[in-house]
C-alpha cells in the first residue's frame, strides 16, 4: 500500500508556542485512520495545517507524492482532499441543497445530480429537509450535512474534525454508523476525535497525540485496550 497522505517531521508554531512537534504519520489508500487526543493536544491544528492554516514551520506534508505544505487552501481542497471542519461550519442561512451545491465547487456541477442522489440515500434525513434552512436543523443533522457536503466533491481522502462534537450519545452512535457505511464504499478517512472509544472501534489504525507529539500508535483494537490511551484521552499525562 502506498501512502496517500504523509506527514514528515512536521512542526507548527503559533508565534513562540510550538503546537506540533516533529509529527510523523501516514494515511494509506482505503484505510480509516484516527487521531485521538485531549483538548489542546494539537488535533485541529494538525488537520488545518494540511490546508496551510497555519503554515507549517518545518517538515513536509506529502499528498500523492507532492509536497502540499506551501499550497493554498483552495488548491488542496480542489485536489481530492475534503474536510468536514470542526464545529460543522455549515452555511446557516442557506438551504440544505444549496449547502450541498457548495460542496461541488472543486469538481464543478457535472456529477451534481448523481451525487446528490447518493447523499440523500446515505442521509435520508437530509432528503426530508432539503429545502429547509440549514440553521434550523438539529446538531446531528447539521453534522450529517457537513459530512455530505464534504463528500459532494468526490474526495480521495475525507478529513473529519470531531464529528461527535456537542452531540448526544445516541446521535454520535448514528454518525459513526454512517461513517462505517461511508468507509465500506472504499473511502479513505482520516478522523480526528476526542471520543476515543468510538473512533478506535471504527479505525484500522490510530495515533495518540499528546501536547503536539505522537505518543502512541497502533491498530485500533490494540490502542483500545492500552492503559496509556485511557490516560491520554482523559487529558492526563
Amino acid at each position: 500500500m502506498s501512502a496517500l497522505l504523509q506527514f514528515k517531521d512536521v512542526d507548527v508554531h503559533y508565534g513562540p508556542i510550538q503546537a506540533l512537534k516533529k509529527v510523523c504519520l501516514e494515511v494509506n489508500q482505503g484505510e480509516i485512520v484516527t487521531m485521538i487526543g485531549s483538548n489542546g493536544a494539537g488535533k485541529s491544528t494538525l488537520l488545518m495545517s494540511i490546508f496551510g492554516q497555519p503554515r507549517i514551520s518545518d517538515g513536509q506534508i506529502i499528498y500523492q507524492g507532492e509536497d502540499i505544505s506551501q499550497k493554498s487552501a483552495h488548491y488542496v481542497a480542489s485536489n481530492g482532499l475534503a474536510q468536514s471542519p470542526e464545529g460543522r461550519r455549515i452555511f446557516p442561512g442557506m438551504s440544505v441543497e444549496e449547502n450541498l451545491l457548495m460542496g461541488t465547487i472543486p469538481i464543478g456541477m457535472e456529477h451534481c445530480d448523481e451525487d446528490m442522489q447518493r447523499m440523500f440515500e446515505l442521509f435520508p434525513r437530509l432528503k426530508e429537509r432539503r429545502n429547509q434552512r440549514a440553521s434550523t436543523m438539529s446538531g446531528g443533522e447539521q453534522q450529517m450535512l457537513a459530512i455530505a457536503r464534504a463528500l459532494m466533491s468526490r474526495p480521495k481522502l475525507l478529513l473529519l474534525d470531531e464529528p461527535s462534537l456537542g452531540l448526544a450519545p445516541i446521535i454520535v452512535k448514528q454518525i459513526f454508523q454512517i461513517l462505517a457505511d461511508v468507509a465500506s464504499t472504499g473511502m479513505t478517512i482520516f478522523l480526528v476525535e476526542q471520543n476515543a472509544n468510538h473512533a478506535l472501534k471504527l479505525a484500522d489504525r490510530g495515533y495518540v497525540l499528546v501536547n503536539g507529539e505522537i505518543r502512541l500508535t497502533g491498530s485500533g483494537d490494540d490502542l483500545l485496550v492500552n492503559p496509556e490511551v485511557r490516560d491520554a484521552y482523559l487529558g492526563g499525562h
Binding site: A77, E98, F120, R133
Partner: protein, 424 residues
C-alpha cells in the same frame, strides 16, 4: 359578520378608549393649556381633535390586526428569526405580475410627469444603482465598505475629465467608467483581502476620503473645488442643447420647439433601461454559483476555504462588480448635474448608500430599490423640513434597527424543485 371573521369589536372599543384616555393624559396638559404671561389659556378643541385622531387610528389598527391579512402582517413583523426563509419549490412570486406593470409605468411616466418630478426620480434611480452596487459588496459578500462613494466619484469625474481632456462623450464613457471603477475596486480589493469587519470598514473609509482629497487638491488636473462641467448624452449625435455647436440639435431635427425637459426625459429613459439591465444581471448573479459563493463567504469564510473556494477571486469579483455599478451611477450623476465637484462625494454619501442597503435588507434586491427611493424621494417631499432632514433620517435608522433589523424586505431563498435524476 363579526362572528364569521373573528373580529372582536368589544375589545377594539376597549383598546380605543384606553388609547383615548392616554392621549388625553399626554396631550391634555401639553397641547390643551397654553401659558400666556401669567394666565393659562385652555385650548380644548385642539385636544379634542388630537384625541379623536388617536382614537380613530387605534380603532382602525385594532380592527385591522384582527383580520386575516392583518394577522399575517403582524406575524411577519413580529417574528424575529433571522429573516431568511426558503420558498416552496413551486412558489411563483407575485413579482411576475408587478414587474411588467412597473416597466410600462416607468416608460410612460416621463412624458406625463413634470420636469421637477422627473429630476427627483432620476436621482432616485441613480441611488438605486448605487445601492445595487454596494449591495453586492456589503449585502451579498458581507464586506463592509464605507468608501463606496469613491467609485461613484471615479465614474462622475471619468465622464467630466474624459470629455475635457480626451473629448469622449457620454456613450463612450459609460462602459469606460464602469471599467475604470471596476479596476479601482480590484485595486482596493487586493490590500484588504485579509481584513474583516471593523478593519475593512476603516480602510475603505480611508479609500473614499483619498479619492475625494485627490479630486480636491489636484487642481491642475481636476480644477479642484471649482469642479468640472460634464457633457450631456446625445441621441445618435443629436444634442439636447438649445443651439448645437456642430450639426442640428435634437428639437430642430424633429421639428419640435425647444424644451429643457427633453434632456431629462432622455437621461431618464437611458437610466431606466440601465437600471433594468443591472437589476436583471444582479438577479441572475444571485442564482449563479458566483452569487452563492459570495453569500457563502459572508456566512462562513473558513468553511468556504475548506471547500476549495478561492476566496481571493470571490472577494475581488464582488469588489469589482460592485464598484463598476457605482461607476455607472457616477456617469449618470455627472451628466444629470452637468457639473461635478468634490463636495458631492463626501462621506455622508457613502453613509447614505450604506443606509439604503441596510434599510432595504441586506442582500435583497427589491428592498434596495424601495429603500433607495424612500431615502432620496422622501427628503424632496419634506422640503419644508429641510433643517430636520438629517435628524429624521437618523430617527428612521434607529427605529428601523430596533424593529426591523433585517431591513424592509426579507431575503427569501429559492426552494429547489426536484431535479431529474435526484430521488423525490
Amino acid at each position: 359578520m363579526s362572528q364569521e371573521t373573528g373580529i372582536n369589536i368589544g375589545s377594539s372599543i376597549k383598546d380605543t378608549i384606553i388609547a383615548g384616555l392616554l392621549a388625553l393624559i399626554v396631550f391634555g396638559p401639553v397641547v390643551g393649556v397654553l401659558l400666556d404671561g401669567y394666565e393659562f389659556i385652555a385650548r380644548i378643541d385642539d385636544v379634542v381633535w388630537i384625541v379623536a385622531i388617536v382614537m380613530a387610528g387605534r380603532f382602525a389598527i385594532s380592527v385591522f390586526v384582527q383580520t386575516e391579512s392583518g394577522k399575517k402582517f403582524v406575524y411577519r413583523q413580529l417574528t424575529k428569526e433571522d429573516g431568511v426563509s426558503v420558498t416552496a419549490p413551486d412558489y411563483k412570486s407575485k413579482m411576475r405580475y408587478i414587474i411588467p406593470i412597473v416597466i410600462v409605468i416607468g416608460l410612460i411616466a416621463p412624458f406625463i410627469a413634470s420636469k421637477y418630478v422627473l429630476t427627483v426620480v432620476i436621482l432616485g434611480l441613480i441611488y438605486v444603482l448605487l445601492g445595487l452596487g454596494l449591495n453586492i459588496v456589503v449585502g451579498l459578500a458581507g464586506l463592509l465598505d464605507l468608501g463606496f462613494v469613491g467609485f461613484y466619484a471615479i465614474g462622475a469625474y471619468g465622464l467630466a475629465l474624459g470629455y475635457e481632456y480626451l473629448g469622449l462623450g457620454f456613450w463612450s464613457m459609460l462602459p469606460l467608467a464602469a471599467i475604470m471603477a471596476g479596476v479601482a475596486g480590484a485595486v482596493l480589493g487586493f490590500p484588504v483581502l485579509r481584513m474583516h469587519g471593523d478593519y475593512l470598514a476603516i480602510v475603505t473609509l480611508g479609500f473614499g476620503e483619498i479619492i475625494r482629497l485627490v479630486l480636491t487638491n489636484w487642481t491642475e488636473f481636476t480644477h479642484g473645488p471649482n469642479g468640472v462641467s460634464a457633457p450631456l448624452p446625445t441621441l445618435f449625435g443629436l444634442e439636447f442643447k438649445r443651439r448645437s455647436s456642430d450639426g442640428t440639435p435634437f428639437h430642430e431635427f424633429f421639428g419640435l420647439s425647444y424644451d429643457s425637459a427633453f434632456k431629462y426625459i432622455f437621461i431618464y429613459l437611458v437610466l431606466f433601461l440601465v437600471v433594468l439591465a443591472v437589476l436583471y444581471v444582479k438577479h441572475r448573479l444571485t442564482r449563479m454559483p458566483i452569487g452563492r459563493a459570495w453569500e457563502a463567504l459572508r456566512e462562513d469564510e473558513i468553511a468556504c476555504r475548506s471547500l476549495g473556494l478561492n476566496h481571493v477571486l470571490v472577494k475581488l469579483s464582488a469588489f469589482t462588480l460592485g464598484a463598476s455599478t457605482g461607476g455607472i451611477a457616477g456617469v449618470f450623476f455627472a451628466t444629470y448635474q452637468g457639473f461635478v465637484n468634490p463636495s458631492s462625494f463626501t462621506f455622508f454619501e457613502s453613509a447614505l448608500i450604506l443606509a439604503i442597503v441596510v434599510l432595504g435588507g441586506m442582500g435583497s434586491t427589491l428592498g434596495v430599490v424601495i429603500a433607495a427611493f424612500v431615502l432620496t424621494v422622501a427628503p424632496e417631499m419634506l422640503r419644508e423640513f429641510a433643517d430636520y432632514r438629517v435628524l429624521m433620517f437618523g430617527i428612521l435608522m434607529v427605529v428601523m434597527m430596533i424593529w426591523k433589523p433585517r431591513g424592509l424586505v426579507r431575503v427569501t431563498r429559492k426552494g429547489f424543485a426536484t431535479r431529474k435524476g435526484v430521488m423525490k
